[in-house]
């Protein structure tokens, strides 16, 4: 397709709790992606950074921060912030620049250093801030994840065994990934032995926050033709907002939109629908998916939002073994957030890195055989979400 851009190179800094400056992870990932692309830093015409809100001013202007660290060379620069979708928005900005003919090759980078412990809002009495209100009455992030998991149990017959099976599967995937933070294999019994956090979620279901970095080099198809004969193409990037009335129970809100005057819409399903429409592809074309398992049971919800199974049937898909590497439609071959922990501005780009390796056949022991089309999905606070489709 003429509207495509090509992923020329990808690179990551391993996820962990390294405690170093986020710029180090970003530069490490950027250099790895440039080397993978066979593109020199001085040839990059556009630098697009995904911002972090936790690392001061350099984080707010991440694109320029990475460009300065790599050495100012006069490229144009952009920084995007969109919570968990920041990496995809930074990627979309770079793609738009290339498709409009304003540049040929761009570098997209996201990296984060996360603090220890709970992410909690500022103190005081601040009832105008929904984030303050929900913490004040004891509603934390796992509450929201658990509400969806419990609903699956009551409506669809999901079991604690199913939720443990997602964790066990993803841990087995991540054990093969050198960039993953947690590489231990788990048994279902070990999951059941971990403490209950928010029924039915246990400690081993809930993802941690991590340090990490990911970078992607993209170019026009013309530019790529001189460098690769087997290009991985970006077929779609969806960064849609919700449609009113959003029916999702979302952090940090205490109540959903009212659908009294209109109909309720599923935001998460609409993210993927836009990506499929843009790519001219459907769920039946997908060979591999990377989805946002903030808690293990949420992977089941995402299988349905992406159309990989019908609503209420994701447990059957899981139990059939289809979502394991070697199955019909492997989900989270990287190990997912369960094995990485969340490094917000890097996470959406890390998903693109994994799919690129999968579509090139370079994923080693994690390889999904014959992968041709991959899709990512994530979603974060304040109406942000993204889905990227790559094709070979």
């Amino acid at each position: 397709m003429s509207g495509d851009v090509v992923v020329l190179g990808v690179g990551m800094h391993p996820w962990g709790k390294w405690g170093r400056n986020f710029v180090e992870y970003g530069v490490h990932a950027a250099r790895a992606a440039l080397e993978d692309a066979g593109v020199g830093w001085r040839d990059v015409q556009f630098v697009s950074g995904a911002a972090t809100m936790r690392c001061g001013y350099p984080g707010y202007v991440a694109g320029a921060t990475f460009a300065q660290a790599l050495g100012w060379q006069g490229a144009e620069v952009n920084t995007s912030y969109a919570a968990c979708a920041s990496g995809s928005q930074a990627l979309a900005a770079a793609r738009a620049k290339i498709l409009s003919g304003q540049c040929e090759v761009a570098l997209v980078v996201g990296a984060d250093t996360t603090p220890k412990g709970f992410l909690a809002p500022a103190k005081g009495y601040r009832p105008e801030d929904p984030d303050w209100v929900r913490f004040h009455i004891g509603i934390t992030n796992p509450t929201y994840f658990a509400l969806y998991a419990r609903r699956r149990m009551d409506l669809y017959g999901a079991t604690e065994q199913d939720f443990a099976a997602v964790k066990v599967k993803n841990a087995a995937h991540g054990a093969e990934n050198p960039n993953a933070r947690y590489r231990k294999r788990y048994t279902a019994d070990e999951v059941f032995a971990s403490a209950m956090v928010a029924d039915p979620l246990r400690l081993l279901h809930v993802c941690a926050t991590s340090d990490g970095g990911a970078a992607v080099v993209i170019s026009s198809t013309e530019y790529a033709r001189r460098r690769t004969r087997t290009p991985v193409r970006i077929a779609a990037i969806s960064t849609v907002t919700p449609r009113f009335a959003s029916g999702e129970v979302e952090m940090p809100d205490i109540a959903t939109d009212s659908a009294a005057a209109t109909q309720a819409h599923s935001f998460r399903a609409s993210i993927a629908a836009k990506a499929y429409e843009e790519a001219g592809l459907g769920p039946e074309d997908v060979s591999v998916a990377e989805v946002y398992d903030l808690a293990s049971p949420m992977e089941l919800d995402w299988c349905e939002y992406l159309g990989l199974s019908k609503p209420g049937e994701a447990e059957q898909l899981l139990r059939s073994g289809a979502t394991r590497i070697g199955g019909r439609i492997p989900v989270n071959p990287s190990g997912g957030l369960a094995c990485f922990g969340e490094a917000v501005p890097a996470q959406a780009l890390a998903q693109v890195c994994e799919l690129t390796w999968q579509l090139r056949g370079q994923a080693g022991t994690r390889q999904v055989e014959g992968a041709r089309v991959g899709i990512t999905a994530n979603q974060g606070l304040f109406g942000h979400g993204s889905s990227v489709i790559l094709r070979r």
Binding site: F118, F135, G138, L147, A198, D199, F244, A255, A260, A261
Partner: protein, 147 residues
């Protein structure tokens, strides 16, 4: 009853009616969309440019959309009596407002006693004690079985 004074933990979000408390929301006078917390400057319905709202008391009964609990003490600004006691949380769907509202479940009711679809009603309970004042908050209380 003890001798403590009572005050809302969050000012203006609910009535202090001990027997029949209501959450306080607003309603767009043009399209009829409800808002909680109260919205009074612009309507969020994309097909409505209204800037006029009326304050309304939300339905004080609904059905469980889903539920969970908090097994660990949440971080500040959560405030709770010591020692921490786990509590259940419910997301309750209000039929008239077509809106799901989260809240703690009354003390003594655990997740084993809840299920999706169960009718719930709004009550007030103490969230925390501040000096000689009980700070009250809305909570959901089972109001019969799901079927």
């Amino acid at each position: 009853m003890n001798d403590a004074k009572q005050a809302p933990a969050i000012e203006g979000w609910f009535t202090m009616d001990a027997a029949q408390p209501h959450l306080l929301g607003s309603r767009c006078t043009i399209c009829g969309t409800y808002f909680f917390p109260r919205q009074s400057s612009f309507c969020r319905n994309p097909d409505c440019a209204s800037t006029t709202f009326e304050d309304v008391e939300l339905s004080r009964t609904g059905r469980i959309w889903s539920y969970t609990n908090a097994c660990y003490e949440p971080p500040e600004p959560f405030v709770a009596p010591k020692p921490f006691a786990p509590f259940a949380i419910a997301a309750v769907e209000l039929e008239r407002e077509k809106m799901i509202v989260l809240g703690q479940v009354v003390a003594g009711v655990g997740v084993d006693e809840l299920e999706v679809g169960m009718p719930m009603e709004l009550v007030l309970e103490t969230l925390c004690r501040d000096g000689d004042t009980d700070k009250l908050i809305w909570k959901w209380k089972p109001a019969g079985s799901a079927r």
